[in-house]
């Protein structure tokens, strides 16, 4: 098992709007409530969360502007800025990220996503299909990394989607630990997403599945020196019964309109990850004794949830850690409360188990 402690990130997407994912996207407002989000960031700092995901899409405020504004008002929390290729030219994107890094002393990392719905992508002028978008992402990250790692050299690149001649920028990525580039995550369940991580990034975000499937992904990535992370929801309560009652109350609170929203989303998406999860949810409500898909028909793929007692969830996280997972990106409903429960009850149990595992390793050796 990897010795490093598990790292925990949280999604800011539903901050203070617990039912967000049940709404038709057209009904969502994307005007940020800065005070609510800032409060959420400060809470996440208190809870020891590593970074907060700021999502990208036409139903979201711009993640770079959010990271910059929240970043200057906070001191510890990092911002995981989601971005698709095909929106920015690499040099301008690198310049924006470098500027955010300077404002936040390196509290920024990236979540590279592929987009999921052709009609939403078309509104940004992106008409490539799933594989075409990954092809462009491959070039995008190659050029971004070339800018970050250029040293005193200039960047020259001739690709299908991007060209640069004698590229250089005055700005550099600024971080106290000496990193010259942000940590890069890539979201996706497809083999193409794994390949993208292996070529250009640090860690894959995938949706959960049974241990053997996740372990397969993790071992392929580990062979290339890359990490695997899980995006999941969490419902942790003192007892398993309470957690299940909470989960059932959640699904009971939805009506058919939420299900229709997600049936329509599934019909429109070309995301392998989304289709995977909707498929899993149709097969079984419980993928493992703690991994529950019951909310997926109402809340979408990110609602695959770890449900159970504090101890069960900590055990389950350790099982995934043993299978090669090193990071979790979590969501909860309600968001702030679940994050506080997680920080107070689950995270310490995870750390205890990690400490005793380390002690056993020392003993054995």
């Amino acid at each position: 098992m990897n010795d490093a402690p598990l790292r925990f990130h949280w999604s800011m997407s539903s901050a203070a709007d617990p039912k967000r994912r049940t709404q038709a996207r057209a009904a969502m407002s994307a005007v940020p409530d800065f005070k609510v989000l800032l409060n959420f960031c400060l809470m996440a700092e208190e809870c020891g969360i590593d970074s907060l995901l700021t999502a990208y899409g036409s139903y979201r405020p711009d993640p770079i502007a959010m990271a910059a504004s929240l970043g200057v008002m906070t001191s510890k929390i990092k911002f995981m800025i989601a971005i698709r290729s095909g929106v920015n030219v690499p040099a301008q994107f690198v310049q924006q990220i470098n500027t955010v890094s300077a404002l936040t002393n390196g509290r920024v990392c990236l979540n590279i996503v592929n987009g999921h719905t052709p009609e939403e992508l078309a509104s940004f002028g992106d008409f490539l299909d799933h594989e075409g978008r990954y092809g462009r992402t491959d070039e995008f990250l190659a050029v971004c990394n070339a800018f970050w790692h250029r040293g005193e050299n200039t960047v020259n690149f001739e690709g299908q989607h991007f060209r640069v001649a004698n590229g250089r920028l005055g700005s550099r990525y600024i971080a106290p630990d000496g990193r010259v580039a942000p940590e890069i995550f890539v979201g996706g369940n497809s083999r193409t997403a794994e390949e993208t991580v292996i070529r250009h990034a640090d860690c894959l975000w995938r949706f959960p599945d049974v241990l053997s499937v996740v372990g397969g992904t993790a071992s392929r990535l580990a062979a290339a020196g890359k990490e695997t992370g899980l995006i999941a929801s969490v419902i942790a309560r003192a007892t398993r019964e309470e957690a299940i009652a909470e989960a059932e109350a959640l699904t009971a609170s939805f009506d058919d309109s939420a299900r229709k929203v997600h049936e329509q989303a599934l019909a429109r998406t070309d995301s392998v990850a989304s289709r995977n999860v909707y498929g899993l949810a149709r097969q079984a409500e419980w993928l493992t004794p703690t991994l529950w898909t019951g909310a997926v028909p109402f809340m979408g793929p990110a609602s695959v949830a770890f449900v159970g007692s504090y101890d069960e969830i900590a055990d389950s996280f350790l099982d995934y850690k043993a299978a090669g997972v090193s990071q979790f990106l979590l969501l909860g409903w309600p968001d702030i409360e679940e994050m506080q429960i997680f920080a107070r009850e689950v995270a310490p149990r995870v750390r205890d188990r990690e400490a005793s595992a380390a002690a056993m390793t020392v003993k054995a050796s």
Partner: protein, 347 residues
Amino acid sequence: MQPRFHWRLPQGDDRPGDMRDCSAPHLEEQIPFCRDAERLGFDSLLVDFGIDKADSIVLSTALGMATSKIRFLIAYRSGLLAPTSFVQQLNTLSSLIDGRISLNIVAGSTPDEQRAYGDYLEHDDRWARTDEFLTIARGIWRDGVVDFDGAYYRVEQARVRTAYVASDGSRAPQIYVGGASEGARMVAGKHANCLLLPADVPSKIAPRIAPIVARGVEAGLRVMVIARRTHHEAVEAAHAFRDFGPARVHGSFGSFASRSDSQMVQSAMENSAREWLTPWLWTGAVATQGMMATAIVGSYDEVATAILEYQAAGITQFILSGWPKREEMHIFGSEVMGRVLQREAVA
């Protein structure tokens, strides 16, 4: 109509021997500068865009969070990000700082720098692309949803769920288009609230802006100011500015100009053949300090007179910079602005 005064945000430093890098924000200096500009009554601060600088949108976000009245005139180019995403980013920023933003859309000035960004278009094509870029962006601001199929951009049902937010009721930022070419005038005529011109004598400016002004677009002037108590002191300060900085930098403007395809740069070069274009418009520092160094130089009253002459020629907005960068804003704000408004009231 009262003129509107804007100032250029300093990004590097200008103390001798301390040529500060401008590639990262220096909030500890820039925030007090912004608050001074607010207090002195400036309308907005110009935040430059360029390859050696911090990103102008991100920097404006940080400065906007620390201020309450001053606006940010954000310079940006087409060809860097998708128009839908550009609108989304600016709308997000508007919601954070109550719409205190306007845009200075420029076309870029050297092919070398453009290619470093991955932009291989020639000068006129860059303006054609800017036209499409603004057509989509303004369409989203005006109509909410845009379909567009052009030579450079194609979008279907482009829309942004983050509304533009401003308590004054505006639904889009004011757009300034900067440039001296036909392309700039075309784009300004179609899309801008204000065309920004490089410094020149009022008699040349008047005929140039007449057709634009007739279409209801304002004309703004981008010029430096060096104002002192007496004419003599101002000229001395101007000479110190001309000679400021390491000698190796001096003269580099000539080589920059030869690589540039901007008409603004070319006309600044031509003008600088004569040191005084009027009794107060001085080009003496262009050779050492660059094309934006054409300056109104004189006593407080002389500079106020110059501003009024430009107003008479049709200029309604002034994007100013000065030297030393910080002190000059104070001088202009406390000594010249009042004189302009007073004499205007008398006239």
